[in-house]
Every structure is written in C-alpha cells, then in structure tokens.
Symmetry: C2
Subunit: 222 residues, 2 copies
C-alpha cells in the first residue's frame, strides 16, 4: 500500500534510526539470529540501483581461517595508514579501527562482475554502481540499528589482495568489510567526533544555491 | 537515548520505508515546505562518512535558467545513451527518465573539494567519499518517502559540464541530480522492473560464503 501516508509515529521511528545509526567498532561476542540476518539482506536488496543492475554481492565469512586472513590484511593497512596520517598518528592509533575479531558476522560487500555492459545511468558515471551498493549498505546499517545490532564499514584493506583471498572474478570489486554484531551500547555520536578527529560541519557549509559557495537560505532560515 | 530498544512498531516503520522507497521520475507541480526540506538535509548529514570527512555538498537550484540548462544537459545525455543501449532503445525511450521540469526541487549532490588530504579509510579506497555521499542520499530518499515526497537520482549527465555550469572547484565532483517533489503516487515496484528492463535477482544469486560463487545457507534457508 504505497499510497498510505506515514503516521507521525512512523516518521519519528524513521528519523530516530537515521539519527541513532552509528559506525560501530566495538562488539560483544554473541551470535545473531539468522532471521535477523535475512531481514538485513532483504533490506539491502530493496535499495535503489542504477539501471536496476542490482550490483550488490555479499560474501559471508564463516571460516575462522578466512576471517583471520582478513584481519591480517586490515591490520597491515591500518599500520600503513598510521604512517600516512603523520602528525595525527597518535590520535589515530587511539581509535580502535576495526572489530573484526569480536563481531558475530563479517560480510564482504562487493560489486559484481560483468558491470561494463550496464550502460543505463552509467555511460558517463560508471561509479554509480558503487553508489547503489552504498545505498544497500546504508539500508543494512539502519535495519541493523533498529534490530539493536551494530555495523561497521571497514575500508582499511587493499582491494586487490582481498579480492584474491575471496576468489573474486577480475572485474568484481570488494567495497566494504562489514562487521556486524551485538554491542554493549551504541556510541552517542560518531566516534571520530567524540575523539576530536574533526568537527561537525554546519549546514551553512554544506548547502549552496545555484552556484558553488553561494549561500542558500535553506541552510540558514529556521 | 541510543540504548533503548526499538519497539515492533518502530521496526515495522523502518522496514516499511525501506520497502516502499522508490526512485521517482513522475512528479506533480507543487512546492514543498521548507521545514520538510530542512529535515531532509538534517537526515543527509546524519549519514556515516569515511574518516568523518562529511564530503557531501548540495547545490539547490532555484534559478529557472539554471534548471533549464541542467535539463538540456540531461536531455543530451539521454539521447546519447539511447544510441548506446542499442536493441533496448525502444524500451528505454518508453521510460520517462527524468522529471527535472516537473519536480519542486532540483538539488545537485556533489563531493567537496580538497578531498585528497583525507586519508583515513581512503588510502587504498579513495572512492569511499562517494560511498559516504550515497549513504547521505539514501537517508534523504527514506526520509522523503516517509514525508510523502518522491526523490529521483538522475545520473544522466556529463560531470565536467555540470560542474562547469555550477562553478564547482576543479576537484569537486557532481554525483547526482536529485529531483525532489510531490507525486500522485509512488510506484508499487521499481519502474525498470515493471517495464521489464530486468528481473529481480534472487538472494541465492547475491550471497556467497567465504569464496565467490560458493552458495551460502543464509540465502536459501528460511
């Protein structure tokens, strides 16, 4: 019944989950019901996709050996990035940037093979496949938050190396390591904000009108 | 109060909006309250972003002249893609691929300038900035659906040409033309599915275990 309006209670729930979703890095070791995992997958596949290509694929890691190898790849990349961030290294190292060993589920979210033949909406913008996959992950994130389950999107890895580990076809692409698991509590705000890594930008910095840097009333009026 | 569990009614609302969100191409000419637009922007900026970079920028188009130029750019690209899709051209041309002239609001969603210095989570995966912007757009899409407002993500354009029209800095990037507007009704399913452009993929095709093409019980068990 797509036509029925949403009640105020429904709207409140939707804005609540958007507000309370967090990129989680701390998990407790407790398995997740498969029925919940199925609902997360269903939510993912209800995302929009450019030209209806449905480019999302998920590799669920159930092998301890494969998980340990993924952990090794992430650890190596975190150390390399630690060097790259230079002066911020100390703050960076304080952050616990992955929870791969603790979380119940590790899923690698990847772009499918054979994407070149999908032209609709992608002729000039081939990266729209990643946009579609990202919308699917956002659906997982929100649905999981409502289920009381935390999700972290880890992008500390060498895509070629991870692709090889999971036997991806040459033209597939791993975009995310998703850590999914129960948590003690959700962070009250983004962890990197709490840690002082960066400030929250004001709407005035984010919204322009007709031309870049031209302020928009939309961002300033209440 | 991030710690409080979600009620069944709240979960239902969240799964409902995930299920009923549509990429809209048909709009009715009716303006949208600024309070609604502000809520959409707030939802966008509550999205996750890699390294907390908040790379999302929005250019609201209020000038009829600029909107007409954007329409011209999209029309040109739709015609070019129409040639590129070849045999499917007839089906393609039946689709109304944009609603730029009808919708209340046209927003260009873009990646900010100066992104190269953001290394956290992006050293090997620079495209994570687009992933963050896409999550923000998905938040807009879902919030808008709850508000009874349709959103279409148009990616039929030449990014360089659109960037020039809106005076984007060289290293900023326009990722989406968002058409936002009231609608007569929401499509009951994705328009391209209804039009027979492609079929809905089954979960078994989308979920693997430990290695590509290895089936996962998660996708088949109920």
């Amino acid at each position: 019944m797509p036509g029925l309006p949403y009640s105020d209670q429904e709207k409140d729930a939707i804005y609540r989950v958007i507000r309370e979703r967090r990129d989680m890095r701390h998990f407790v070791r407790e398995s997740i019901d498969e029925s919940v995992l199925r609902r997360l997958l269903d939510a993912a596949t209800q995302a929009p996709s450019v030209g209806y290509m449905q480019p999302w694929r998920f590799v669920r890691i159930t092998s301890d050996e494969v998980r340990a190898k993924i952990y090794g790849q992430v650890k190596a990349e975190i150390e390399t990035t630690g060097e790259a961030v230079g002066e911020k290294k100390e703050a960076y190292m304080r952050l616990k940037l992955e929870g791969i060993n603790e979380c119940a589920e590790v899923w690698v979210a990847a772009l499918m093979e054979g994407r070149a033949k999908y032209v609709l909406g992608r002729r000039t913008m081939p990266e729209m496949d990643l946009a579609s996959l990202s919308c699917a992950v956002q659906n997982i994130w929100l649905a999981a938050r409502a289920e009381g389950v935390g999700v972290g999107w880890v992008s500390f890895f060498e895509p070629d190396r991870l692709a090889k580990l999971l036997s991806l076809p040459d033209d597939a692409f791993p975009a995310a390591i998703l850590c999914i698991g129960h948590v003690d509590d959700f962070y009250p705000e983004p962890l990197l904000k709490t840690e002082g890594w960066d400030k929250e930008r004001k709407l005035e910095e984010l919204v322009y009108e007709n031309s870049w840097f031209t302020p928009s009333n939309l961002a300033t009026s209440d």
